[in-house]
Symmetry: C2
Subunit: 611 residues, 2 copies
Amino acid sequence: MGADGVHTVNTTERLAKLRELMKQHSVQAFVVPSEDQHSSEYLANCDKRRAFISGFDGSAGCAVITTDKAYLFTDGRYFLQAEKQLDKNWELMKQGLPDVPTWQDFLYKNLEPATRIGIDATLIAASDAESLTKQLAPKHSKLVSLKENLVDVVWGEDRPSRPKNPVFHLDEKYSGQSQVDKIAKLREEIKKKKAEAIVVTMLDEVAWLFNLRGSDIDYNPVFFAYAVVTMDEVILFIDSAQLDDTARQNLDHVYTKPYYYIFEHLNGISRNLELGRESKILLGDRASLAIADAIGKDNYTIARSPIADLKAIKNKTELEGFRQSHIRDGAALVRYFSWLEEQLNRGAVINESQGADKLEEFRSELDLFRGLSFDTISGTGPNGAIIHYKPDPNDCAIIKKDQVYLCDSGAQFLDGTTDVTRTWHFGTPTNEEKRAFTRVLQGHIAIDTAIFPNGTTGYVIDSFARRALWQDGLDYRHGTGHGVGHFLNVHEGPHGIGVRIVLNNTPLKAGMTVSNEPGYYADGKFGIRIEDIVLVREVKTPNNFGDKGYLGFENVTMCPIHKNLVDVSLLNEQEKKWLDDYHAETWEKVSPLLKDDTRALEWLKRECSPL
Amino acid sequence: MGADGVHTVNTTERLAKLRELMKQHSVQAFVVPSEDQHSSEYLANCDKRRAFISGFDGSAGCAVITTDKAYLFTDGRYFLQAEKQLDKNWELMKQGLPDVPTWQDFLYKNLEPATRIGIDATLIAASDAESLTKQLAPKHSKLVSLKENLVDVVWGEDRPSRPKNPVFHLDEKYSGQSQVDKIAKLREEIKKKKAEAIVVTMLDEVAWLFNLRGSDIDYNPVFFAYAVVTMDEVILFIDSAQLDDTARQNLDHVYTKPYYYIFEHLNGISRNLELGRESKILLGDRASLAIADAIGKDNYTIARSPIADLKAIKNKTELEGFRQSHIRDGAALVRYFSWLEEQLNRGAVINESQGADKLEEFRSELDLFRGLSFDTISGTGPNGAIIHYKPDPNDCAIIKKDQVYLCDSGAQFLDGTTDVTRTWHFGTPTNEEKRAFTRVLQGHIAIDTAIFPNGTTGYVIDSFARRALWQDGLDYRHGTGHGVGHFLNVHEGPHGIGVRIVLNNTPLKAGMTVSNEPGYYADGKFGIRIEDIVLVREVKTPNNFGDKGYLGFENVTMCPIHKNLVDVSLLNEQEKKWLDDYHAETWEKVSPLLKDDTRALEWLKRECSPL
């Protein structure tokens, strides 16, 4: 399906080999999760096992292979992409639709009783394995940890090697807090939880804790490492050859040990720490079964990672970095969109991938730029409706003046991470397109202007983003907002705005970052999304009922929202004022950066003029 | 605290007697739930055990008495009332505030280990008892079912006897469905759940199923009864002397047995029905531990009551009855409020209770009137901030022209049940009062105009009602809406709009009734609530994304919303139009019923004029 920029892989041979191995290991099913051993969402190529075996390379999904079937589970963001990429060997399981089980439920509801289900213990969270094992017990099925990953065996010599790129220190003028302070804070949290130590398994948590950054995974400035923090010592498990001078100089009092040594180290840790009934090692809830098994059954306690909570609340330096990096990022966006409009008006032929490259070129000229934060989504017409579309440079659509064009992109800067979506129509949009865009915009404004008491979760305010769409019988099958790391992963927990009930566990707090990205997707026609990054902040309200304090958002994304797609008759006065105010602020902040680009400056002036 | 219309009872002697009995029964704690043996919210006097022992007579709460302390647990609606009513023997536990446990959590978290906790098994749900028992086990505490209710023993001869009022048949022209049809539908549900029979324990479910109504509990047209429905027979457990001729004539093929005989009958039922591993008796999730114990441990399965789900979706006749009864009810409200304004303008002295009586007088003249649906809340100034305030006729406040006056009232009609709150200021309201009223009104309008896809719950749309209040740092500590019975209980599940997570289990469906009642309460100053009843209905939207169908509300309450309290500058054009349209509809529907009351008609005209 090259025309859509997505390819199908023939998986017949791979599956045959895998089933042969399954037979040898006496397992009747094999689970291939999306994540690596650090529960990462984005993966190094060596860890893209699910993509290798199924052909589907979206960022979320799980494959379950049985002796005669192969199932790929994914969510609404990826239904279209998976349909295009999976070959005839695969059955797509659309999670979230009625009567479609999750892959976990599927294992005990749909597989035969007494099934032995093979799994790589480094790739499944210990907490998930525990609940799965409980669910499977009444059916006499069980998870079987295999010593080798069967997909890796099938992959063989073609499997890429694990990256070992340089790791550097992030200066405190960007991070705002020394690693010594962070470790002290972390030790307080360990004590509060009455534990003796913590094993840090998430790559972005390791990076945040040590103020280190790397590039082992595309778009994510992280590196392969684990860490163990006790009350007396700090050990970083990493290939020490990766550490550059800045990193080494800032790792006083931190022992380094080889990356793979973590398992051996944990094997002896309960004896070394003299753990007892009341003293355990803390594991974050995404720590793998392999990590938990290495520590030993009675020696750990699994909880929400305290680092995730600490990291989610940005300090003043990080927040200011978010503001500044987004202004610079806005300048690149304006240069790109103004260039694109001019090209289309001239009749130039620009494809989606060339557009994305041009945007990257503008971004790469910006101060403190360190690469993109994810694959640029650059989709014209029907491709805009593929929620996580990535144009294939060798085979993608031409951006057309008479189609809706959706561009979701972001960058990594030393002072912050950006993620922004704008939707354009450089010709004359249809009434349907304008109405849908305006409904999305109303939802976007409703989130941006929301005020809510402390204690409110993103689950509760999600409906604000959908209300205007619902009025027209429209909706979107993805969340409204995700947390954003500071020069770290563009998707960051534990909070978010959305319909997943787990988001009801984490109240929004001042200092958090979150995206605001309602959308609408008309399959086969067009896609619309308007995405800004907002900072959660305390707001002064005339009253303070309940003495909780009230919160609101500060929008840091600075890029015009396309008035050409707005049906002004649908907006009320407050909404019109919001848009005009937003454009005035964008002009004020971004125009000084465009002194050398007259085209961009003129375009920005026009796009930022009042309604 | 007579001035506020609430009294304190000296409970010293009662508690001393109770503790003596607790000692005799070797229990160190005794739980006195709010509910009767049918899990009723409103109670016959003989069942008001918690009010008797604690002095607090609000409709929700639970008392836990230990050897040296007494705790009363209630929620935000009743904090003020409970503070006023409880004497020094009691500690008020404000459920919903941070760090305040529920009474269930309290039993295992706060009581000493190995506590024997006395309970009357008829007064606790079997499902609650089961989860409580599990929670208590690690602490070696346990629930102990006592043969006699210790509060009843303390109460002694002063305890009122159980009412045995006449029970009559509700004609199909009001109910819209024969009891034969209802039982057939119920049997389908029993089969779907693979059960052999159901025990109906909720009083409103029995009344609905048999199209019978009574008056054993004030404001609730129900009667004391249980029912057992198998595939072959239907047994109604009731004092048959209560059945009037209309009831008897419509109970063909229904066996009647004495009310208390239910336990004896259930004792033999597993043998009689030849129940096995796969054939169980269905119990609703509010069925008591005593009922479950009578059936026997392995012979029942607890599920959401299918009758609750059937009853919640009103048929066409019931929906039309709701519309018509609300128009008549509106006429009585208009007559009362116009009368009250005239009295206050004349300088007449009317107290809160006299106001409520006058309203009841107007209502009692209406067609098909069968009494009030709950105690009228008639509160001036600070009393309006007591969310479930009931004025004491002998000792209550004078309604003042320069105070906010809140009136929440409703009636039972053969064709429907009403529940409406209006808030007035017959003088010159302060800016604070107007602003708060307008924020409440905006929340009310946001619910009324909401459109949402099938599958959406009242938990998800609750935030619409609070958004405008939150903008000013305001909120309210109660739900936004409850289901309403059809000539049945004014509070009816299983759905609702609110912040309790259990409301996220039941999507709103076409045919449901629900109140829309955001509010704001300034303790010690004033209370504001605007409450209408809305019907859930399918709506036509320009699109139907997800093919789910979209729902909205139809407002049936017809009574002006006080423009004198509206700060028009806060409203947007849609909100102004909503209010004008609502008033035009109210005038059109209610004015024809006021031909003989010039005062009311003139007043309605003025109140319904455009902004």
